[in-house]
């Protein structure tokens, strides 16, 4: 509507020329609802109650006399109560655009007093203390202008004198040294670990190299063995061949020896045996012949002796009959010789050893004796033979003795 004015929630409508006034104010303040404004007669102005901010940058000196550059933001608004609106309207109604600047300038002075009441440490650390100082330094002044300061935010403190830097220096140095120490420790540890790792690596490399060399050696050994295997087996095979050949040669030699034995030695042995046997036979024959001869001779001699004895006896006794016997006995050697010749002339193979020979010999001798006995029987007719010169006994006994002697010589 044309004459119905409604202020926004953050505005105050100031109507001058109105008859109805709030208190003793020269104008009517309307907030929160609309009202009629008579044209010509009344004039309505709007005062914004919204939040404003003023940036302040100021060189300040703290309680300790340290110069710092402070950049702050003051957040303020026109108070909502009637007094504040009236005060602000009277001062800023035409200057609403430059209100921030104006308030900022005013507040810069307050900022000096605020900072002057604080130490740097408090400014940095104690918000409550700063707020107290803001209240203390600016409240009454701002109330005159109808302004409520909501907050003062110190955005930056320029450390022109280096105080804050120096304040921080010990801590910074301590921190830096701690950092350096930590860094050094870390470096040391890292180096240690690296060295350990390098040592371990070297160790492992050594082990690997040793193992590799071992494997290589083994491989080469096996390869060498494999390479040798051919010649070795060949050598073995040739050795076996040689052994076999040797065995064969040995067997051949033994065969030859056996053959030699069978073909040469045995026949030779047999021949030798034959010859030896023959020689033995001949020897025996000769011996037997000699024996026979000796025996016959001995018998002849004995017979002669007996004959002589008999002759002597007969000569002594004058026995004529013995003379005839004597003649016969004289002929005995010839008989025996004839018998011996008969033996030597015959080529006989004796199969019965010496016994056979003995038998023969005894046979021959027996023949001779039989002849002798016949002679005796022929001579001894009376039966009472005269005793011999030695007086031992009759003749036949003597003959028997002789026979016994002959047999003993024959068997030797």
């Amino acid at each position: 509507m044309l004459f119905w004015h409604v202020p926004a929630p953050n505005e105050a409508l100031l109507i001058s020329g109105s008859k109805r006034r709030t208190g003793d104010a020269q104008f009517r303040i309307v907030t929160g609802h609309g009202c009629w404004v008579m044209p010509v007669k009344q004039k309505a102005s709007v005062l914004a109650l919204s939040l404003r901010e003023a940036e302040i940058s100021e060189d300040c000196v703290t309680q300790q006399g340290i110069r710092i550059g402070v950049r702050a933001v003051a957040v303020f608004k026109v108070g909502d109560d009637q007094t504040s609106i009236a005060n602000a309207a009277r001062r800023f109604l035409d200057e609403q655009a430059t209100m921030e600047e104006l308030v900022g300038r005013i507040f810069a002075g307050h900022l000096r007093s605020i900072v002057g009441g604080l130490t740097v440490e408090q400014i940095i650390r104690e918000r409550d203390r700063v707020a107290q100082e803001v209240k203390d330094g600016s409240h009454s002044e701002m109330e005159k202008l109808g302004i409520v300061v909501d907050a003062l935010q110190i955005q930056e403190i320029a450390d022109t004198s280096g105080y804050i830097t120096n304040l921080a220096a010990p801590h910074a140095a301590a921190v830096a040294s701690a950092a350096r120490i930590a860094q050094a420790k870390a470096d040391q540890e890292a180096t240690e670990r690296e060295q350990q790792a390098a040592a371990l690596k070297a160790e492992y490399e050594r082990d690997t190299a040793i193992k590799r060399a071992g494997f290589l050696a083994e491989t080469e050994q096996y390869q060498a063995r494999a390479a040798q295997a051919g010649p070795l087996s060949q050598a073995r095979a040739s050795q076996e061949v040689i052994e076999e050949q040797t065995a064969l040669a040995q067997r051949q030699a033994s065969l030859a020896a056996q053959r030699l034995e069978g073909e040469v030695r045995r026949p030779a042995d047999a021949e030798a045996y034959r010859l030896r046997t023959l020689a033995e036979a001949q020897r025996d024959q000769v011996r037997f012949e000699a024996d026979a001869r000796a025996y016959s001779e001995r018998a002849v001699a004995q017979a002669r002796a007996d004959a002589n004895t008999a002759v002597a006896g007969s000569l002594r006794d004058g026995n004529q009959e013995l003379i005839a016997a004597n003649r016969t006995i004289e002929n005995l050697p010839a008989l025996a010789k004839a018998a011996a010749e008969g033996l030597s002339g015959s080529r006989l193979t004796v199969l019965n050893g010496t016994d056979g020979i003995n038998e023969i010999a005894s046979g021959i001798v027996g023949e001779g004796l039989a002849i002798l006995d016949s002679l005796k029987n022929g001579t001894g007719t009376s039966g009472s033979a005269p005793p011999l010169a030695d007086g031992t006994g009759p003749l036949p006994q003597k003959v028997t003795n002789l026979k016994r002697d002959g047999a003993g010589s024959g068997s030797s």
Binding site: G23, G79, K135, E143
Partner: protein, 73 residues
């Protein structure tokens, strides 16, 4: 009209909360529920009052200044 009602408002008896601790010699700040919202008033007290303490307004010296006392109990 109730034009005076919303501007002529007395905060006496209102219970608020301290937002900036009140020293003995200087003002602190209390947040008081007025005109449907909350507004910050400069506050004085006989004894120092810490932040976040409930206080009751016993007097107001100017439009934006009040005297408070700690809420008993």
């Amino acid at each position: 009209m109730s034009a005076t009602d919303d501007t002529d408002f007395s905060p006496i008896g209102v219970i608020g909360r301290v937002t900036v601790s009140i020293p003995t010699d200087g003002p602190g700040e209390v947040l008081l529920p007025v005109r449907g919202g909350t507004e910050a008033f400069a506050a004085w007290s006989r004894e120092p009052i810490a932040r976040h303490t409930q206080v009751i307004v016993v007097d107001h010296t100017s439009a934006r200044s009040v005297i408070v006392a700690p809420l008993p109990g």
